[in-house]
Every structure is written in C-alpha cells, then in structure tokens.
C-alpha cells in the first residue's frame, strides 16, 4: 500500500530524514515512536506531500507520489490525515467539516454528502453534535470529528500525527477507541504516538525513528519487550 525508498528531507542545511525505507501493506497498522525532533512528523507529512521530500521515492497505492506529474490532490484523497491540533474548520459545523471536501472536491450532491457525513459522525459517536461548531466541542470530540472528516474522502490510508497528545488525559481513551475500531475494520494506518498501550494492542509493527532513520522495527512485543539498539532502550526506559 505504501512503499518508501530512501526518503530524505532537509530544511535548508538541516537534514531531518536521512534515508527512510519502509513498506506498509494493506490493512497494516504501523506505529511510529521516537524522540522529539527525530523526524516522525516530517516523515508522515512527506507521505501526503505536505512536506516535499528532498530525495527518494514514495508510492501510495501504486502511484508515485513524488512524481512531479502526478495530481497531488488525487493522491491526498487516498491519504486521510489527522493532526495533533485537530485543525477543524472553526467556521463550519461538525457536519459541514465532514461534508466540505466530498461536496467540493468529489462534487458529491449535498444530500449524499450529508448522509455520508451523518453516518461518519455516528461512527465516531457524535451524531448528536452534527450542528455544533468546533469551538463548542471538547478536545476529544474535536479530534473525533477530525477523524470523521478525514474518513469522508474514503481514504485507503490514514495518517495520524500524535492524535492524542494535545488532549486532556480523560479524553485520550475516546479517541483511541475510535482508532481501534478503524484498525479492526482493516484500515491501513500509520500512527505517530506515544501511547504505548495503544501500540501494544493495535499495532502490527512498531518503527523506532532516531535522528532521521528507522533505527529499529518489529512487532510491539519485539520492540517494547526486547529492544536491540542502545538508543531504543534508553528511549523506551524514559517513556515506559
């Protein structure tokens, strides 16, 4: 589903990604962990070209994302993204947040878009909040709307960048629950997270990023239970 070959990314003279190779197959849930500044967000953002890679190749669902001729808007429809700070559209209701892209990008008739929107809001447990503006929702609710919004484009892959790290502790669970449902339904997911419980329970594979490289990868049992590298060990000892 996702194939990344020797991905590099520099900001000016700062080399953030130094050659990442990775494959994510259909239905797989991959969690990425790593210290702050190790390049997790940058990697995820390269996958849907929110950051333009400096070098290397990315293929998503068979399409070369990095090819300049490719219609990036089409590719992005296949990769839903959920941000740390939700980034909901504050001038639109929860339902409008979900229906905007299907209506304007896919030119879906309003009725159909609304129907799909309501189904998705129900799926994330917010059917009764359809007509509420983001400002009146809690952080956890906002993030669930953001997930519904991303799902509305029926993506093949969902990218999550620390979806729970700006939430109050009591709201983390409700968002993780929605993500677990998604994983169970077979969604392909790439998740940057420090929620080790979630990674253990849901991830098929854990990648440990260190200084712009994948320093270690394996099943959650392998990476958490029996880390090989020194950096992995010291990182895990700090957060577990």
């Amino acid at each position: 589903m996702i194939e990344v070959k020797h991905l590099t990314k520099s900001f000016g003279s700062l080399e953030v990604l130094k050659g990442i190779h990775c494959r994510i197959s259909e239905g797989e849930v991959v969690c990425m962990i790593g210290a702050s500044g190790s390049g997790k967000s940058t990697f995820l953002r390269c996958l849907n070209m929110l950051e333009k890679p400096t070098g290397g190749e990315i293929h998503i669902d068979g399409v070369s994302v990095t090819d300049p001729k490719v219609d990036i808007n089409k590719v992005r429809q296949k990769t839903g993204m959920v941000f740390q700070l939700f980034n909901l559209f504050p001038h639109k209701t929860a339902l409008e947040n979900v229906t905007l892209a299907p209506a304007k990008v896919l030119k879906m008739p309003p009725k159909e878009a609304e129907e799909r929107g309501r189904v998705l809001l129900t799926k994330v447990g917010l059917s009764e909040k359809a007509d509420v503006y983001p400002g009146q929702l809690s952080g956890g609710q906002q993030q669930r709307v953001a997930i519904a919004r991303a799902l509305a484009m029926q993506p093949k892959v969902m990218l999550f960048d620390e979806p729970t790290s700006s939430l109050d502790p009591e709201m983390v669970g409700e968002v993780l629950a929605v993500m677990k449902d998604l994983a169970r339904e077979g969604m392909t997911m790439a998740v940057v997270t420090h929620e080790m419980g979630f990674a253990r329970e849901v991830a098929d594979r854990v990648l440990f990023l260190d200084d712009g490289l994948i320093a270690e990868e394996g099943t959650p049992q392998e990476v958490f239970g029996n880390p090989q590298g020194q950096r992995t060990k010291s990182f895990l000892s700090k957060i577990l």
């Binding site: 929110l50 089409k74 992005r76 941000f83 559209f89 905007l100 892209a101 503006y133």
Partner: protein, 235 residues
C-alpha cells in the same frame, strides 16, 4: 446661525455625495484589494512583484498627487499614445481629445488608493489564519484555490471587518481632497458657499461637524461589529 440653517440642506447634499463616493470607492477597493492582496501572497514571483508595486505606489504617494496624476496626467498620456500610434502605424483615431470627468477621476483614484490599503488588510487577514487550516484542507485533497475559497477566506473575512471599517472611515475623510479638481462633495460645497457669501467660520465648522457625524457613526458601528465578532464563539 441663520446662514447655517440656510446652507444646511445644501451641505447635506454634499455629505450625501461624500458618502456615495466613499461607498463606491471602498467597494471597488475591496475587489481590487482582494486580488492585489492574494497577488502579494502568490507563489509566482512576477505576480507578487506586480502586487507589491501597486501597493507600494498607492500607499507610498499622497492621495492628492495620485488624483492629479489620474485627472490631468492620465488623459494626456492616452492622447499622446494615440497620437503616436496614429503617426507611426496609421491607426484610426478612436477618441478625440480624451478627458476624464471629475466623477470618473474621483472614483478611479479613490478606488485604486483604497485598494492598496485593503490589499494589505486582506494579506494580513489571510496570513493570520493558522497554517494548520490550509494543511488540513489540502490533506483532504482540496486544491489551493478551493482551500482558499472555502476555508481560508471565510475566516479571514471575519477578521478583516474591523480594519476594513477603519479604512472606510479614513477614505471618507480623504475624499475631501477631491475638492481640488472641482468635484463637488461636502468640502467643495462648503468652499463654494464661502465663496458666495463670505462667512467662513460657521460654514467650515458645519462641514467639519458633518464629517465628524459620519465618522463617529461608522466608528461606533465598527466597534459594535468588533465586539460581536469577538463574542462569537464560532472562533
């Protein structure tokens, strides 16, 4: 006091013209300013430069000089270019001694001037929207244009209402310069009456009060809008 009562309706008509020219100019200025502001944010360097030149010129030169340039200068330029085209290329004559009437020159000058200020207002408004909004929209597959239109601009418009109101008030006062080309608005009305019945203090004082009444009304309106937008928890 008597004179004031007599001239009052005449000055009111002048005030109506002042208001009218301001509304028209700022409206056109909004359209011009939107495009110029977006041009200043464009990825294309040429487009950006064009936008910047326009904004710099009209913000960096006096409105009075701009007015003279448009009213006297521009027609001369047109006539000479036409003359040259006829002489060198045998182009048929299109206009005979092109001139602007005061009204057209007034509208063009004030619109271009306020457009430059409004361009900066829009640019600041768009830039004040968090980067995450554009990213979220683009991540859903929306093009830059769609994202601007449905996500960024609607939020920016809300934030620019107060500064737009202030620009309106500034333009309302600045239109008094139009008297210089004989455009009969409020200030010119006052001057004409003074020329007729020499009684400058009450007449110009009344003119001043009429400007004040208009600017105060609009600044109250802007304050009220600002308060309403702040308490609006749609963010």
């Amino acid at each position: 006091m008597e004179t004031v009562l007599k001239i009052y309706p005449v000055l009111l008509m002048g005030a109506a013209v002042t208001l009218q020219i301001t509304v028209i100019s700022v409206s056109i200025g909004c359209v011009v300013g939107l495009f110029a502001g977006l041009a200043r944010l464009s990825k294309s360097r040429i487009v950006r430069t064009v936008g910047t030149c326009y904004v710099d010129f009209f913000r960096g030169t006096p409105l009075y000089v701009q007015l003279l340039l448009v009213y006297f200068g521009f027609p001369q330029l047109i006539n000479e270019v036409q003359h040259w085209l006829i002489a060198s290329y045998g182009m048929p004559q299109l206009v005979h001694n092109f001139v602007f009437n005061e009204w057209t020159a007034a509208i063009i000058t004030c619109s271009l001037n306020s457009g430059a200020y409004i361009a900066e207002i829009f640019r600041a408004g768009v830039q004040s929207i968090e980067r995450g909004q554009m990213e979220a929209a683009r991540s859903l597959g929306m093009s830059h244009v769609l994202a601007m239109r449905y996500v960024i601009l609607p939020q920016a418009f809300k934030r620019v209402i107060p500064p737009l109101g202030n620009e309106f008030i500034a333009m309302l006062k600045d239109t008094s310069i139009l008297a210089a080309i004989g455009f009969v608005e409020l200030n010119r009305r006052g001057q004409l009456i003074v020329a007729e019945i020499y009684d400058p203090f009450p007449i110009f004082f009344t003119v001043a009060l009429m400007y004040l009444a208009m600017t105060l009304t609009f600044s109250r309106l802007v304050d009220w809008l600002e308060r309403r937008l702040k308490t609006d928890d749609r963010g």
